[in-house]
Each structure stands twice: as structure tokens, then as C-alpha cells.
């Protein structure tokens, strides 16, 4: 392995944090969803990197599933966002606040 696994850990953590940052600061539901995708990819990077380290394909297998599920999640999410958009005329997540307290 040409690059020490630690670097992949760092990269992954950085991507995760960027995703988290996006989740925390953006009010657009779609961007929220994209940020979540980033976070999942961060996990993927780890899994793939250490799949190589440990020499088993468990990690890669899981990445496969994660990818599929992420896609499904996006599909469901987009559907919900569209419904919300229809009801609230907005996909700003701070607009849909009829229920609180």
C-alpha cells in the first residue's frame, strides 16, 4: 500500500466533517441530502481502504450495499422533498415548522 492507511482515515474524517458542516449550516433540503451523501462516502472511503489493509472484501461488500441504500435513500428523500415542496412551496427546511413544542 503506497499511502499509509492513516491518511485515508484523515481524508474520510475530513469529508465526514464537511458533510456534517453542510448538514448543520444549510437550510436547503437538497443540499442537506447531498451532505449526507458525502458523509456516507466518507464511511465508504474508510471501508475500502481498510478492506485493502485487512485483505478481505467485507468492507467492499458493505460499501456496495451502502451505495445502493444511499441511492434508495435519495430516491425516497427526493420524493418526500417534492411533497413538502408542494405543501409548503419551499424546500427550505426551516419553513416546515408547523409542529413544534
Amino acid at each position: 500500500m503506497a499511502v499509509a492507511p492513516g491518511w485515508y482515515l484523515l481524508l474520510s474524517a475530513a469529508v465526514f466533517c464537511i458533510g456534517l458542516f453542510g448538514v448543520l449550516v444549510r437550510r436547503n433540503a437538497l443540499i442537506f441530502l447531498m451532505s449526507v451523501e458525502l458523509m456516507i462516502n466518507a464511511a465508504n472511503i474508510n471501508l475500502v481502504a481498510f478492506s485493502l489493509v485487512y485483505g478481505n472484501i467485507t468492507g467492499q461488500t458493505f460499501v456496495l450495499f451502502l451505495t445502493a441504500l444511499a441511492a434508495a435513500e435519495v430516491a425516497v428523500g427526493v420524493g418526500i422533498i417534492l411533497v413538502v415542496n408542494r405543501n409548503f412551496d419551499s424546500i427550505d427546511i426551516t419553513d416546515a415548522v408547523t409542529m413544534r413544542w
Binding site: V23, L24, F32, I93, W101
Partner: protein, 704 residues
């Protein structure tokens, strides 16, 4: 000990059970009470006759008992009913039983007699006057008779307490008989409450006796009286729990506690205030309960366990002082009263003070003697007063009367006999008994007893003077002079049912003193002192196992080293002479004020003369503000404290409970605000929570 003592030489009346069936005196009134309660309004005369019959039977049985005891029957001490059987070896047993000895037989007779006469008198006083609710009246009277008789025959202190309380209940019911008026309702409450206060100490005493001795029996070798005596005599108090005190000290404490009950019931200072108010009840009730019998219960109680008191000089001194002071104190208030029954009420308090004085002064015999004579003449006076009140159309103020002696001849004569007895004029009953009280106190004071006895004796002497004065003032204002009102001009006639009791009691007031003419003991043969022989148990047959109940034995304990240590002293005059001198002094002290009264109030239209007393009069009219301070204690102290407690309870204690609810709700409102509705906030808090967990466990888990 238990078991019917054989009537060895007993005399018996046909069909009348005597000592062996003395329960009849108790059960008859009880049954009568239940019958009247259930069927009162259907009974002839609303139960009056039934009451007369049952008290009559009770009286007859009592008389038969006395006769049997006088003719050599043994005393009876038997457990009749077990209230609570203590498990073996653990816990005391509480029982009801009878103890018939000379003292209780005598008291039983007095109660029976007065009760019978009052029932008869009530026919005229209540029935003839068309009172309503008569079944309630007669039911309560029967219940009273039952309770009083049961109290008298009690063989242990707990049973005494039980019926002591029941007597109080009857008093409450009868004082409050006319409950529609605010006065009686209030007076009834006061009577019960004040005596309850005394009974509180009494009950502690009962509990203490049971705790100390494990028994509350009056008689027998296993009685607490005997156990206490044995403990002091032998100096060995093992087997007795004195709660860490010296035996005699502890006995004194117990004695004083029980005394509390007597002070309340016998209306001694400072718990005497209920008795004048109790005059709100029907007058026959005043005669029966508030003069002759129930009030006597306190004195009787002390006499009943006199063997115990005789062990404690301190307790005796306290009793003497309370008695002497009460005798004096009440007499001063009687001086200025305007209502007939009020004068009698204060006189009653005063007279019971004498009895207490006698008991404290070592004069057991004198006390019982005065109890007997007083019961007779005071019942007479009250019944007489009742007759007057009826004939005066329920007018009680003496200043509205006058000149009644011609219209009400029989009443006048009987009333006069009673008054002479009360004032202690030779040879009426009161003279003999009161004189003996003073004599006994004097000799024990002279014998080197506590100086307190001198003080008490002096107070007693002063009371003699005042007694004579107010008695004659009362008689003169009521019967002599000119009628001062229309009602007095034309009094209502007194019916036969009222006259008969008056006559009977009038006769007895004259002759009762002959029972024990101790003043003349230097002249008379020793056997002439009938009451002394009686109370010494000389007529009683059988084993002397119960001999601890005799007056002789009490005297023995009283004078013993381990007991009160009283000794008799005669001031160098000798026993008989001193008795005679004392009698003469007392007579003189009674006659002079009587003459003064004649001088002041004997005219056709007497002046009140009250202004001469100045500010003292205000004090006396207001009864030394005794009522006021007791009302102040209730309203001014207890009630504010209760209100304060209530405020504390509602404000602080309940406030904490409700407040914790309020705080929770407030906190709830705060917590709720977390849920802002904005996903971004949720996510931020979620991330924050995760971060905190990470940091905390990174630090504690050592990941860094």
C-alpha cells in the same frame, strides 16, 4: 380474692338482692335507659315512672347492701367482665368488677336516694311544666344513674375512669338539655371540655398506674394500693416499674396526675369554672349531678384510693391546699351572686373544697362524712331552688323575689333546714361534718405536719364565715321581706311530687349529722360514732383480707414512717377538748355572720349593700376573671396557634407539594422549548450530543 364472699351473717330483705346482687343497681338503670331510648315517647309520663321504679329498686338494693354489711356480711370484690384479656405474661388485663365495702355501699345509697328523689321531683318540675323531649331527659337521667352507680362500685382505677367519663357525658347531655338556646349548648361544651382537661391527667395517671404496677385494682393484696404500700414499707420497689424515679416521688407524681381528674370533676380551683355555667341545665339535674353525686365523684375517687395518697405527704399537702383555697375562693364569689342557683353553685364548689381539704388534711372520715351530709343538704337546696323557680315562673334572680315564706310554707321550712345545715349551725348536719373537717386538719397541722396545712385550715375557717353570710343572705332575700315583684306576690303552688322529696331531704338534713357527732366525742360513748365504726369496718364480717380499705388502716398508713408521716397534735388541750373548742369556735364564726346578714338583709325591703365593696365587687361579680382567662386560653392562645398551624400547613407544607408540581410544570415548559420545530436545531443538538459523548468518553476512556 375473687368470688362471692359468703353472706355469713347477712340480713336480707325479701325479694331484694343485697350485696350479692348489687349489679342490679347498675343494670336496672341501663335497661331503663335503653327502653326509654327506644320506646320513650310511648311510655307513660315519657319514661318518668320507669325511671322511678328502676332507681327505687337501685336504692332498695343499696339499702339492703348497707344493712347486710352492717349485720356482718363480708365485703365483695369480684371481676364481672373482662374487657381485654392480656396474653399470658404480656400486657395487663383490663377488667370491670365490683368492690362493695362500707365506702362504696354508703355512696351507693346516697346516689340511689338522691337519684330516686330527683326522679320524683322531676315529675313535677318537668312533666307538669309540659317540657318537650322528655324521653331524652329521662334516658339521660337513667344513663347517669347507671354510670354513677357503676363508678361507685368500680373495683379498679380503669373502670373508675370509664364511668367517670360516662358520667361526664351525661352531665354534658343534661346541661345541654335545652340545646336550642345558645347558653346551655355552650355551657355543656364547656363543662365537658374543662373536665376533660382534668381527665387528661387522670388518664395519664391510670396509664401510669397500670404501667407501674401492672394492675389497677383498688383492693386485695395484688392491688396497686397494697403494692405501693408494701414497696415503701419494705423499701424494696422491685417488681414495680418506677420509671427511674424514687418510689415515693413516682407515687406522688401518679397521685397528682389522678388528682387532676378529681380537680376537674369536683370543680376545684382552677378547673371549677364549668360548674356555675352548668346551672343552665334543668334544676333537678343540678341537684342530682352538679351538687350531690357526680361532683362528688372526684372526692370519692380520692377516698377510694386513699391508701395510696396516704403514702405521699406532698400529694396530701397539694390536695389540702387546693381544697382550702377552693373553699375560700368560691365562697367569696358566692357572696355577691344575684341568682339563686349561682349562689348554690359557688357554695357547692366551696363545700367540695372542704372535702378536699379534709382528705389532704388526713381526715378521711371527715371527708366521707361531709360528702354524705353535703349530698343531702345540697340536693335539698337545689330541689328547693327548683321549687322556687317553678313557683316564680322561671325567675331566678333573688332580687325579684322576697316574702315567699308564707306562700310556700313547706318549701321554706325544708329550704331553711338545708340552709342551716350548709351554714353549719348546730345541730344541723353540716355543723357536724364541717367541723370534723376543720378539726382533722387542725390536729394534723398541729402535729407537726406541713405548714401548708395551717394555711389551708385558715382558709377553711374564713370560708366558714362567708358561708354563713351568703347562706342567710340567700334565705332572707328569697323568703323574707316584702314581695318585690308580681310573680312573688302570687307564686305558683308547689306540687306534691316536688314537696315529698323536699320533706324527706329536709328531715335528713336535720338528723344526718347524728351519724358521727365527733365534736362531742369526749362526752359520747365511743359506739355513738356510727360512721367511724362503719368506715373502720367494725360491722363487716368475713376474712380481713380486704382490711386495707378501712379508715383505721388509712390512719395507720398516714401516721407511719414510710407513709405521709402525719401525726396528730392537740395544742396541749387533749383530744376531746380540742374537738369541743373547735366546734364552738366554728359555731361562733357561723352565727356572727348570720346575724350580720340578718342585719343587712332582714328588713322588708333590703338594700343590695354591694357598693360598699367597691372595686372588689366588680372582681367578685366577674368571678376573678377566671372565665375570661380560660376563654382567653382557648380563643386567644389555642385558636391563634391552630390558625397559625393551619397557615403553615396550607402555606408551607402543602405549598411544597403543590410547588413541586408548579416547578415541574415550569421545568416542563422549558424542556419543551428544546423542540423548536426546526430540523436544523435538531440536527445541531444531535451533533452536539454526539460530540459531548465523544469528548466525555474520550477523556474517561483514555483515547486521546
Amino acid at each position: 380474692m375473687v368470688g362471692l364472699t359468703p353472706l355469713s351473717a347477712g340480713f336480707s330483705l325479701p325479694f331484694v338482692p343485697g350485696i350479692g346482687g348489687v349489679e342490679v343497681t347498675v343494670l336496672f338503670p341501663l335497661v331503663t335507659f335503653l327502653l326509654i331510648l327506644a320506646f320513650g315517647r310511648y311510655l307513660p309520663f315519657k319514661g318518668a315512672y320507669l325511671g322511678i321504679v328502676s332507681t327505687g329498686v337501685g336504692f332498695l338494693v343499696a339499702v339492703a347492701t348497707v344493712i347486710q354489711l352492717a349485720t356482718g356480711a363480708g365485703i365483695r370484690h369480684e371481676t364481672l367482665h373482662t374487657l381485654v384479656a392480656g396474653v399470658e405474661g404480656a400486657g395487663v388485663t383490663l377488667t370491670f368488677g365490683v368492690l362493695i365495702d362500707p365506702l362504696s355501699a354508703l355512696m351507693l345509697t346516697i346516689v340511689g336516694l338522691i337519684s330516686l328523689l330527683v326522679h320524683v321531683f322531676s315529675l313535677g318540675y318537668m312533666n307538669a311544666e309540659g317540657e318537650i323531649d322528655l324521653p331524652r331527659y329521662y334516658a339521660a337521667l337513667s344513663l347517669f344513674t347507671f354510670s354513677m352507680m357503676a363508678f361507685v362500685i368500680s373495683d379498679n382505677l380503669l373502670m373508675s375512669f370509664v364511668f367517670f367519663e360516662l358520667v361526664g357525658l351525661c352531665s354534658y347531655l343534661l346541661i345541654g338539655f335545652w340545646y336550642r338556646k345558645p347558653g346551655p349548648a355552650s355551657a355543656a361544651k364547656k363543662a365537658f371540655l374543662v373536665t376533660r382537661f382534668g381527665d387528661y391527667f387522670f388518664l395519664i395517671g391510670v396509664v401510669a398506674v397500670l404501667g407501674t404496677f401492672g394492675t389497677a385494682q383498688f383492693a386485695g393484696t395484688e392491688s396497686f394500693v397494697t403494692m405501693a404500700e408494701t414497696a415503701l414499707e419494705s423499701g424494696d420497689a422491685s417488681g414495680i416499674n418506677t420509671f427511674g424515679f424514687g418510689a415515693q416521688t413516682w407515687f406522688t407524681v401518679i397521685g397528682l396526675l389522678v388528682l387532676g381528674g378529681a380537680v376537674g370533676k369536683s370543680a376545684q380551683f382552677p378547673l371549677h369554672t364549668w360548674l356555675p355555667d352548668a346551672m343552665e341545665g334543668p334544676t333537678p339535674v343540678s341537684a342530682l349531678i352538679h351538687a350531690a353525686t357526680m361532683v362528688a365523684a372526684g372526692v370519692y375517687l380520692i377516698a377510694r384510693m386513699y391508701g395510696f395518697y396516704a403514702l405521699s405527704p406532698t400529694a396530701l399537702s397539694v390536695i389540702a391546699l387546693v381544697g382550702g383555697f377552693t373553699a375560700f375562693f368560691a365562697a367569696t364569689m358566692a357572696l355577691v351572686k344575684q341568682e339563686l342557683k349561682q349562689v348554690l353553685a359557688y357554695s357547692t364548689i366551696s363545700q367540695y373544697g372542704y372535702m378536699m381539704l379534709a382528705l389532704g388534711g388526713g381526715g378521711y372520715l371527715a371527708a366521707v362524712f361531709h360528702l354524705t351530709t353535703h349530698a343531702i343538704f345540697k340536693a335539698l337546696l337545689f330541689l328547693g331552688a327548683g321549687a322556687i323557680i317553678i313557683s316564680m315562673h322561671h325567675e331566678e334572680n333573688m332580687w325579684e323575689m322576697g316574702g315567699l315564706k308564707d306562700e310556700l310554707r313547706t318549701t321554706y321550712l325544708a329550704f331553711l333546714a338545708g340552709s342551716l345545715a350548709l351554714a353549719g349551725i348546730f345541730p344541723f348536719a353540716g355543723f357536724w361534718s364541717k367541723d370534723e373537717v376543720l378539726y382533722e386538719t387542725l390536729i394534723h397541722a398541729l402535729g407537726g405536719g406541713s405548714p401548708v396545712l395551717f394555711v389551708a385550715y385558715a382558709l377553711g375557717l374564713l370560708a366558714v364565715i362567708m358561708t354563713a353570710f351568703y347562706t342567710f343572705r340567700m334565705v332572707l332575700l328569697t323568703f323574707h321581706g316584702e314581695p318585690r315583684t308580681d310573680a312573688a306576690e302570687d307564686p305558683h303552688a308547689v306540687s306534691l311530687s316536688m314537696k315529698v322529696p323536699l320533706v324527706v331531704l329536709g328531715v335528713l338534713s336535720v338528723v344526718a349529722g347524728l351519724l358521727n357527732m365527733a365534736v362531742l366525742k369526749s362526752v359520747l360513748p365511743k359506739d355513738a360514732l356510727l360512721l367511724e365504726r362503719w368506715l373502720n369496718g367494725e360491722t363487716v364480717g368475713g376474712e380481713f383480707a380486704e382490711g386495707a380499705l378501712t379508715a383505721e388502716h388509712y390512719h395507720h398508713v398516714l401516721t407511719s414512717e414510710y407513709g405521709a408521716g402525719y401525726t396528730a397534735g392537740y395544742g396541749g388541750l387533749g383530744e376531746g377538748t380540742l374537738a369541743l373548742v373547735g366546734g364552738v369556735v366554728a359555731l361562733v364564726l357561723a352565727v356572727i355572720p348570720a346575724l350580720v346578714a340578718w342585719r343587712l338583709y332582714g328588713g322588708a325591703d333590703p338594700d343590695p349593700h354591694m357598693t360598699n365593696l367597691g372595686s372588689l365587687r366588680t372582681l367578685l361579680m366577674n368571678n376573678y376573671y377566671q372565665d375570661e382567662y380560660q376563654v382567653w386560653l382557648a380563643r386567644g392562645v389555642t385558636l391563634p396557634v391552630a390558625t397559625l398551624a393551619n397557615k403553615f400547613d396550607q402555606g408551607l407544607l402543602d405549598g411544597i407539594v403543590d410547588g413541586s408540581g408548579g416547578v415541574s410544570l415550569f421545568a416542563g415548559g422549558r424542556f419543551q422549548r428544546l423542540q423548536s420545530g426546526v430540523v436544523t436545531t435538531y440536527v445541531a443538538l444531535l451533533a452536539l450530543g454526539l460530540l459531548v459523548l465523544l469528548l466525555v468518553f474520550a477523556v474517561t476512556g483514555g483515547w486521546l
